[in-house]
């Protein structure tokens, strides 16, 4: 079972890799891709209304686009298969260890990225127009799974006594779920900034990607909804379930352990994002930058704190 889990991780990574390559291919050659746009521009130049980038449900399929559509479908299928493999990898690990599979940093990374993958599939099912973002999501997944598999991997073992509590199921699950959704929320947030820069006439490298992205408002709204969904879960996991467990395990509900400090910082930054988003006088770009900053603090908490600081949360297996 343990070996199966490890193999499934490789399958998942390959799946995301395939999804990434297929999405990139659609990017380049699809109906909104480079080749198509050159043709389109000629048509528009002939007096049509300016083409507004939209999330039309299905682009007009010219004969030459047939292949791109199939590649796009392959990308989606690969993403679904990779997600299934990843979740199976997590489940197999849980069965092999006979406990919840988030007892160390490797398992935690797999668990929270699984949540991100599933959340992304949900978004994809409800908003098929956003499938162009698959390139960025699968890229992020490949990177994170790679980090997990290469740097963080530890063999299966039982839990240390400090983690042997039902709060592992509650606290760590809530944290993993919310981090996963924050991760998915980060992708449209970052892309919104690119698209917004593109709309305001910036032409440098990251902004040049903007022309192939969904409309800025759509990205911004998606990002907000994902963050608004994840924030209460994060609040529950980090500021309610965490302290309850900390009280039982260490005798105090809050003790400014490095992990607690960074969870607090992330919470503040995301709270700041939600406030800024709700304040009309704050520009949407400013608010979204705060969300991006929030994600950086999450990364700092997961990787930075585990690798550079030692504290009460040091059971990363590193």
């Amino acid at each position: 079972m343990a070996a199966l889990s490890d193999q499934l991780l490789v399958v998942a990574m390959l799946g995301y890799l395939v999804a990434m390559i297929c999405s990139a291919a659609v990017y380049a050659f699809g109906s909104k891709g480079v080749v198509a746009r050159v043709a389109e521009r000629e048509l528009v130049g002939a007096g049509g209304p300016p083409v507004v980038e939209s999330v039309s449900p299905e682009p007009v399929v010219a004969a030459r686009d047939g292949r791109a559509v199939w590649i796009g479908r392959a990308a989606t299928v690969a993403t679904v298969l990779a997600t299934v493999a990843q979740v199976a990898c997590l489940v197999a690990r849980g069965i092999a260890a006979d406990r919840l599979p988030w007892g160390n940093m490797y398992e935690y990374t797999i668990a929270s990225t699984s949540v991100a993958a599933v959340a992304w599939l949900v978004v994809l099912a409800r908003r098929p127009g956003l499938r162009h973002l698959n390139l960025y999501v699968s890229l992020t997944m490949v990177v994170l799974l790679g980090v997990a598999g290469l740097l963080l991997y530890v063999p299966i073992g039982p839990l240390v006594p400090a983690l042997n509590s039902y709060w592992l199921a509650i606290h760590v699950s809530a944290i993993a779920i919310s981090s996963g959704i924050f991760l998915v929320g980060f992708v449209p947030a970052a892309l919104f900034l690119i698209r917004d820069g593109y709309d305001r006439g910036k032409v440098g490298f990251p902004f040049s990607l903007g022309q192939r992205l969904p409309a800025a408002a759509v990205l911004e709204r998606l990002s907000f909804r994902l963050h608004a969904f994840a924030f209460p879960i994060w609040t529950f996991g980090a500021l309610i379930a965490g302290p309850i467990w900390a009280e039982a395990a260490w005798g105090r509900y809050w003790g400014w352990d490095p992990k607690e400090v960074w969870a607090f910082i992330s919470w503040i930054v995301y709270a700041g994002y939600l406030h800024a988003r709700a304040t009309p006088s704050v520009r949407k770009t400013t608010a979204t930058w705060i969300a991006v900053l929030g994600f950086l603090t999450m990364l700092m908490n997961l990787f930075g704190v585990n690798l550079f600081f030692s504290g009460l949360h040091s059971y990363g297996g590193l």
Binding site: G157, T235, V269, A278
Partner: protein, 525 residues
């Protein structure tokens, strides 16, 4: 603070020539207050709080890990006093950190009180009049053949829990007041958390100590019995709950690689009625009346019997501190009353005896005997270094009980006797003066933290309220619908019903809700 109300960022233009100092000061104060309670200031303060928390994770904190602060002093002797001066080792108790959160909470109160008043008014007021041009609203529709009257419209809306006001032939309805209620609850709950934290630090207390197994080492709950303790300023030392604890047994199990699997301590509790046996563990503290006992660590206390040159025997045990995961433990055992001449009864301070030791629960089979191979006692060995001379304990200067006084050794007042020797349980080592030391075995000990925090229940309730309020404010939507019934025509019983809808907050699904509400009203007629 999560709704869409823009507050004035700056005070209105100041009067050109202030009439007097008093008025000028009042103006400045008012301006400052307005500035402080603005959304932007609150956001800036929130971020300052986040930034201010960062050094708390980068620098070692005294109340989290004291030893690391001492290490920092050793490694950066010139930098440490400066860090100390800006409270770098106590970030979360520092005046500047307190300044930020107190300003933030003041800003919060200044922001919340007017909003509370406003919301209270809104809750008691009726929905506003129907606007003249319903077709200007974001949602608008006409129902040509409406058969009912305004009462029917109002009834249908009330059924869907809209707040309804009927005026002549118009109906105004509003929904989603819970959004602002949740918002206020969320922020007030935060103030409650701050109060809970303050209560905890005023009325809470804690003490940490090592408890060695056995009846001789039992302890009772008073400050002198703790190795380290802290009482809140409002706690009376005499008011600590009276109980005594004795460690009867401690069980630890380990995986093959030495990682711990489980811990369990069994204690006898006295003082709260009849003595009773209790067992507790990591994650499962011992809950007593007015205090909880937490298991933080464990270790071994070697027992050593020393027979001095006059044949007098003393037996001592001393807890050794573990230095690695395999429970390689170091400590010291002192015999300051050794070698008292029984004939004269005179104690010669230069003939005191002490041992520095390394205890290996699973000693390697051959030297060097420096590291334990496994945390359980599979092959115990105690590596002792004997010292004779003045232990330096008589000066009354507090010193570590886990090592002999290095100053005495360096100055030559305490000198090594022979080579270090590894003793197996029951083995005896005869020193050059004919005295003997025997390693009898070990006792287990646990590190305990005894704590009481009266604020934690309040903090928990407040944070649950905060979460509830947060969800209401994030997912609630304030919206209004307006209905106007045209005058009846003589030819038909049906009348024209014009409907408009206005989402007052960001609400993408409003169109669907508007349609279904209109449908429900039609059906009801």
């Amino acid at each position: 603070m999560t709704t869409t109300q823009a507050r004035p960022e700056t005070p209105p233009a100041p009067p050109p020539r202030p009439p007097g100092w008093g008025a000028w000061l009042a103006g400045v104060a008012r301006g400052a207050w307005r500035q402080l309670t603005s959304m932007r200031t609150a956001l800036v303060l929130l971020f300052l709080l986040a930034v201010a928390a960062i050094p708390g994770s980068l620098l070692p904190q005294r109340n989290v890990e004291l030893e690391k602060v001492q290490n920092f002093y050793r490694e950066h002797p010139s930098l440490a006093p400066w860090v100390e001066r800006i409270d770098g080792f106590d970030v979360f108790g520092s005046p500047w950190f307190a300044a930020i959160y107190l300003l933030l909470f003041t800003s919060l109160i200044g922001c919340l009180v007017p909003r509370l008043r406003e919301h209270w008014r809104a809750l008691r007021s009726v929905p506003p009049k129907v606007p003249a041009r319903l077709d200007r609203l974001p949602q608008h529709t006409r129902v040509a053949d409406y058969d009912g009257d305004v009462a029917a419209v109002a009834a249908a809306l009330r059924k869907q829990r809209w707040r309804v006001a009927v005026r002549d032939d118009t109906v105004s309805a509003e929904k989603g007041y819970l959004k602002e209620t949740g918002n206020l609850v969320f922020h007030f709950a935060f103030l409650a958390v701050l109060v809970a934290v303050a209560l905890g630090s005023w009325y809470g207390w804690h003490g940490n100590r090592i408890l060695v197994a056995g009846p001789d080492s039992a302890f009772c709950n008073s400050l002198q019995q703790y190795d380290e303790s802290k009482l809140g300023p409002r706690v009376d030392e005499g008011g600590l709950p009276p109980f005594c604890l004795r460690l009867d047994d401690f069980q630890a199990t380990f995986q093959d690689n030495g990682q711990p699997k489980s811990f369990r301590a069994t204690v006898t509790v006295e003082g709260e009625g009849p003595a009773r046996s209790e067992s507790f563990s990591v994650n499962e503290p011992l809950r007593l009346d007015g205090a909880s006992v937490y298991l933080l660590g464990h270790g071994y206390a070697p027992i050593v019997r020393y027979t001095d040159r006059f044949g007098r025997t003393q037996t001592k045990d001393a807890p050794f501190l573990s230095t690695d995961e395999m429970q390689t433990s170091t400590g010291a055992i002192s015999f300051p009353d050794a070698n008292v001449d029984p004939a004269t009864g005179v104690r010669d301070p230069s003939l005191q005896v002490g041992f520095d030791g390394i205890y290996l629960p699973t000693a390697p089979t051959e030297p060097p005997f420096l590291r334990s191979r496994f945390p359980a006692e599979d092959n115990p060995g105690l590596l002792l270094t004997a010292y004779r001379g003045n232990l330096g304990l008589d000066a009354g200067i507090p010193s570590s009980v886990y090592q002999l006084d290095q100053g005495q050794i360096d100055s030559g007042r305490l000198s090594v006797v022979g080579e270090p020797k590894l003793l197996r349980p029951g083995e005896k080592w005869t020193l050059d003066d004919g005295s003997t030391v025997e390693f009898l075995g070990t006792k287990k000990y646990v590190t305990l933290s005894v704590r009481h925090d009266p604020g934690q229940g309040i903090a928990l309730v407040a944070s649950v309220f905060a979460l509830g309020g947060l969800m209401l404010s994030l997912f609630g939507k304030r919206r209004r619908v307006f209905f106007r019934l045209a005058s009846p025509t003589p030819t038909s019983r049906s009348r024209l019903l014009e409907v408009g809808g206005l989402p007052r907050t960001d609400y993408p699904g409003f169109a669907e809700e508007f349609t279904s509400t209109v449908a429900a009203v039609r059906e009801k007629a």
